[in-house]
Amino acid sequence: MGTVSRGAPSRGGSLAAERRQAYLLVAPAVAVLAAVALYPIGAALWLSLHRHIVVFHERSFLGFANYRFLLADARFWSALGHTAYFTVVAVSAELALGLPLALILHEARRGRGLLRALVLIPWAIPTVVAAKLWAWLLNPSYGLINRLLGGADINWLGHPVLALHTAIVVDAWKTTPFVAILLLAGLQGIPEDIYRAARVDGASSFRIFRSITLPLLRPALALALLFRTLDALRVFDAIYVLTEGGPANTTETLSLYAYKTLMRAGDFGYGATLSVVTFLCVALAAAALVRGLGRGWEEAR
């Protein structure tokens, strides 16, 4: 707006006035975002520098003491480890499952719409419902899974390793459709002519997939990877409903630890610290992914 140099002395004019209308149109959105997103982050940062126990109305400034405590907090590092493990395994599974699913949806001729709708249902329902669904399937006494395993007595949610993987299954079940939809869009963006040319050149189906489909799918894969990774790092709902972080905090993720500190212990100061650090982890992952994938993105374009 005013950055372009004007040789003429006249300023303003209706063109400039209309350009100002743009600011009017975005102002409400900017205001709301600043209020509900930017302010709380700043406030959380400020809170994290305090000791603030809500119930006792206790509040004192601590500087970076909370952060020093955090670095030595074993429970934090466990939570970080659980979160990282959860993310890596869940996202890998979702990409590995999502690609075949996308390919199948792409091949569908009749009933394509219905198929897509049915497959989207897990995505559309609340995570709570999904968790309850699987919790029942994995119920030690009455669950279908144990019955199908010949009356086994496995306590899926009571065993530390199994519990985390159960959460991963729930997450994958719920979000693979989303990944598949993203990849499907990518598949649909590849012109049919390229496949025809490849077939005329004598390439086998597998060769076509490896040398043409996959490379051209890179932007969509990168996008799915980015979104899912950031979502997985923030996981809360599924774990809370399935295990509440148990047994004995072995499935506790960062978000869950922060939540318990805030709402169970009422320690808003340290809870804010945990929240901020979680935010930093997600931000770092985002930056790293965007940097690393951005290059691949540009190449594929």
Binding site: V4, S5, G7, A8, S10, G12, G13, S14, E18
Partner: protein, 344 residues
């Protein structure tokens, strides 16, 4: 009165790209001016600047003497016909035509009258209730024209309006636009990449290349006295032959290039007339009405327009002859036209 003038108009984008370099142009009231050039030459940007859809980085744009470079399109009293017609898909033909008048706040009766008038002029009655998607290409073109006409603006702007039509329709619509201009006697600014359109329609042609104006002149002059090598090569089908003078047997040492139009190259078989040059046929293209023969002459190639019954074989020996009065001389370095130099 609808004079348009551009003074030193320049458009530089934030990325640093200079789309338009210092364009200065005076358009008289009622004149049909075509702005022509290859894609990316800045002609559409210039039109957008005149319309107010973009703002110039520097320079003035005046309509009837009033500076308008700071004014929004609605205050410039101009109308525009777009390449894709840009008809409002959710409105029927009647509402498309009426829309500009509704926005201007005219009375209902006035709007109805003008719409009726314009529709009659363009043969659109009976299409009132149709939506744009139910119209043919030619019909959509007419509605786009009508939407511009209905406003009775000072200046009409056309942005490659015929590019989306097939060849036959294009020729027909071209004639209609020319007729329209005669009838309205209004100021038309017409952007196209098609040199034939520019030649047949306009009173004056503005040739642009890489953001700079190459020449502003009536079509005849642009064809017969092109200001530089680019303009010479842009107009005329097949393209003008541009060769070093030695190819034509003219020895010069002053770094000039010579151009000769294919229709000025005589070609034949058998005994060559005086001052003819021997050549070998390279390519033969019969077009029905005539034959375009490209010959190899030393290192160069020349194209000649021959009668349709002259169809030599590739590799055949022929002679060509050029009239020295119809040669165009250009500086080989700058490409600028130089007047016919005296023979050495």
């Amino acid at each position: 009165m609808a004079r348009l003038s551009l003074e030193g108009v320049r458009k530089v984008y934030r990325s640093g790209v200079v789309a338009v370099h210092e364009v200065t142009l005076e358009v008289a009231d009622g004149e049909f001016v075509a702005i022509v050039g290859p894609s990316g030459c800045g002609k559409s940007t210039t039109l957008a600047l005149i319309a107010g859809l973009e703002q110039p980085t520097s320079g003035h744009i005046r309509i009837d003497g009033q500076p308008v470079e700071d004014r929004s399109p609605r205050e410039r009293d101009i109308a525009m016909v777009f390449q894709s017609y840009a008809l409002y898909p959710h409105m029927n033909v009647r509402r498309n035509l009426a829309f500009p008048l509704e926005v201007a706040g005219l009375a209902r009766e006035v709007i109805a009258e003008r719409v009726r008038e314009t529709a009659a002029l363009l043969g659109l009655e009976g299409l009132y209730e149709r939506r744009p998607r139910e119209l043919s290409g030619g019909q959509r073109q007419r509605v786009a024209l009508g939407r511009a006409l209905v406003r009775r603006p000072k200046v009409f702007l056309f942005d490659e309006p015929l590019s989306n039509l097939d060849a036959a329709l294009r020729t027909e619509m071209r004639g209609e636009i020319k007729k329209l201009h005669e009838r309205l006697a209004a100021t038309f600014i017409y952007v196209t990449h098609d040199q034939a359109e520019a030649m047949t329609l306009s009173d004056r042609v503005v040739v642009m290349h890489e953001g700079k104006v190459q020449q502003v002149a009536p079509p005849r002059e642009v064809y017969e006295a092109p200001a530089n090598r680019f303009v010479a090569g842009f107009f005329g089908t097949p393209r003008i032959n541009l060769v070093p003078p030695s190819t034509l047997g003219i020895e010069r040492a002053d770094g000039l290039e010579v151009g000769v139009r294919p229709e000025q190259v005589a070609i034949g078989r058998g005994g060559p007339p005086e001052s003819a040059l021997a050549a070998q046929v390279y390519l033969v293209e019969p077009t029905g009405a005539e034959t375009w023969v490209t010959v190899a002459l030393g290192q160069a190639r020349l194209t000649a327009r021959a009668p349709s019954d002259f169809v030599p074989r590739s590799g055949e020996a022929v002679w060509i002859q050029v009239d020295a009065r119809h040669l165009h001389w250009f500086d080989a370095g700058t490409g600028r036209r130089v007047s016919a130099p005296p023979s050495p």
